[in-house]
């Protein structure tokens, strides 16, 4: 009897361990794409705080943040969105299956991010008043893609 109970506890423990391990082990392309989105968010944060007067405006820092966003927007997305890595296939990703059903549409949204980022790059060092509208444009590009291609939490 005792053995059975211990056995059960052990099995349960192993099962928990296995799920925890599974949740950790996202394929490298998924980790990489999530990382790139976080780089976008961090740099937007630098610019957004300046635009909202939550941080002092610093032309050099603003330019570097905008340059970084442009650099990320030039990353080729295809290798990061490999077949079989949608939210239907894996836990821990919010990439919708629609990305693969409509790859051209997805690529178009990524290109939209590229042009908004290029605009921002032009004006980032020109003063805090310029940041607001350019960030609005960029935010529009993020939303437009999340609207159709990212699943809710």
């Amino acid at each position: 009897m005792k053995i059975t109970a211990t056995g059960l506890a052990l099995t349960a423990g192993l099962a928990t361990f296995a799920t925890a391990a599974l949740a950790q082990e996202l394929p490298a392309p998924v980790k990489a794409r999530q990382g790139q989105f976080n780089i976008l968010a961090i740099n937007l944060g630098i610019l957004g705080d300046m635009a909202r007067d939550k941080a002092p405006y610093d032309a050099e820092a603003a330019q570097m943040a905008a340059d970084t966003i442009v650099a990320v927007s030039m990353i080729n997305e295809a290798p990061l969105f490999r077949e079989g890595t949608s939210e239907m296939d894996l836990n821990g990703t919010r990439a919708k299956a629609e990305i693969w059903d409509d790859w051209n549409g997805f690529a178009e949204k990524w290109a939209g991010l590229g042009s908004a980022a290029a605009q921002l790059q032009q004006v980032a060092a020109a003063g805090p008043e310029e940041l607001g509208p350019a960030l609005g444009q960029l935010g529009g590009a993020c939303k437009a893609c999340h609207d159709t291609f990212r699943a809710p939490e």
Binding site: A41, G48, G139, G140, C142, K143, H146, E153
Partner: protein
């Protein structure tokens, strides 16, 4: 035995009659909104934007958000609803309607033929609209382009395909009173009007019971998405720690305080609010910050 049966039959008939009567549509009195002296279409446009009419009624995948051709589908556990054509087309849209018909749809959820509408059309919120706003909205909608696309039927399961039953639903859930009972200052009152009447935030952010009615005692406390894809976040202070400015900024740009960007159905709401005056985003933020924490269950 015969007598008992007769008696039971009578009770059953009376009950059925009573159900039939209380499920009858309750339209506006004929005298209300009878004369259409014309409203202010510019004001109407702001109301249209805040109320998000285009979000549901524009054609699916269309870039032209002002062509209210309908056709978007809204899956739910009762079946799939399809938004109808509400463009000013005289046959396929609502071009032949009177102001009275329009007011009946928004304020009573009743069609010109006297049938109930499904609350997938959020008249459960619009019922709180000011009469003048209905007039101005009507004058604006009539300036929009007409579409000759025919409205598509809903795909609902029995018994939800029977409209008459909605009369009982309305008895249970159609409630014109404000949820946030007291709103002291002007900003908070404006915020309450935007949230509870026009922008119908509660239709997504409030959990529903088994019959699809909003749980007013769990107002804006989040819940499963009606189409079964994930959860909609809570806006109550136990769950949302954002500042007043964070909420207003999110409604303008879609950026969260850590600069993630909004997705899903919230995107249409933000696209609308970005076009409203800053005072309106500010008023909504004031309302959200004034929400009480939901009662523990």
């Amino acid at each position: 035995m015969r007598r008992l049966f007769g008696f039971l039959l009578l009770v059953a008939l009376l009950a059925a009659g009573a159900v039939w009567m209380i499920s009858a549509p309750d339209p506006l009195p004929a005298a209300e909104f009878a004369a259409d002296a014309g409203g202010d279409p510019a004001r109407g446009q702001t109301i249209f934007t805040a109320a998000g009419c285009a979000s549901c009624h524009h054609a699916p995948e269309s870039e032209d958000k002002l062509l209210l051709a309908g056709g978007q589908r809204f899956p739910s556990e009762f079946g799939t609803f399809t938004a109808p054509n509400i463009s000013p087309h005289p046959q396929q849209g609502i071009g032949a309607w009177s102001l009275h018909d329009f007011a009946n749809a928004l304020l009573r959820g009743v069609s010109p033929e006297g049938r109930h509408y499904y609350p997938a059309f959020p008249y459960t919120s619009y019922i709180r609209m000011e009469p003048q706003d209905v007039v101005d909205l009507w004058s604006y909608i009539r300036t929009l382009p007409a579409s000759d696309a025919a409205s598509q039927p809903h795909g609902l399961r029995f018994p939800f395909n029977l409209r008459r039953g909605l009369g009982l639903w309305k008895q249970l859930y159609l409630e014109p009173a404000w949820v946030l009972a007291s709103a002291e200052d002007e900003t908070l009152r404006r915020g309450r009007y935007l949230v509870e009447a026009l922008a119908h935030c509660g239709e997504c952010h409030t959990p529903r019971d088994a019959l699809g009615g909003l749980q007013r005692d769990a107002w804006l406390s989040g819940g499963p998405a009606p189409d079964g894809t994930g959860r909609i976040p809570a806006l109550t202070p136990d769950a949302l720690s954002w500042s007043h400015e964070d909420i207003a900024y999110y409604l303008e740009t879609g950026f969260t305080p850590d600069y993630d960007s909004a997705g899903g159905h919230m995107v249409e709401v933000i696209d609308n609010f970005a076009r409203l005056p800053a005072e309106d985003r500010d008023a909504v933020a004031a309302y959200v910050k004034a929400l009480p924490a939901p009662a523990p269950d």
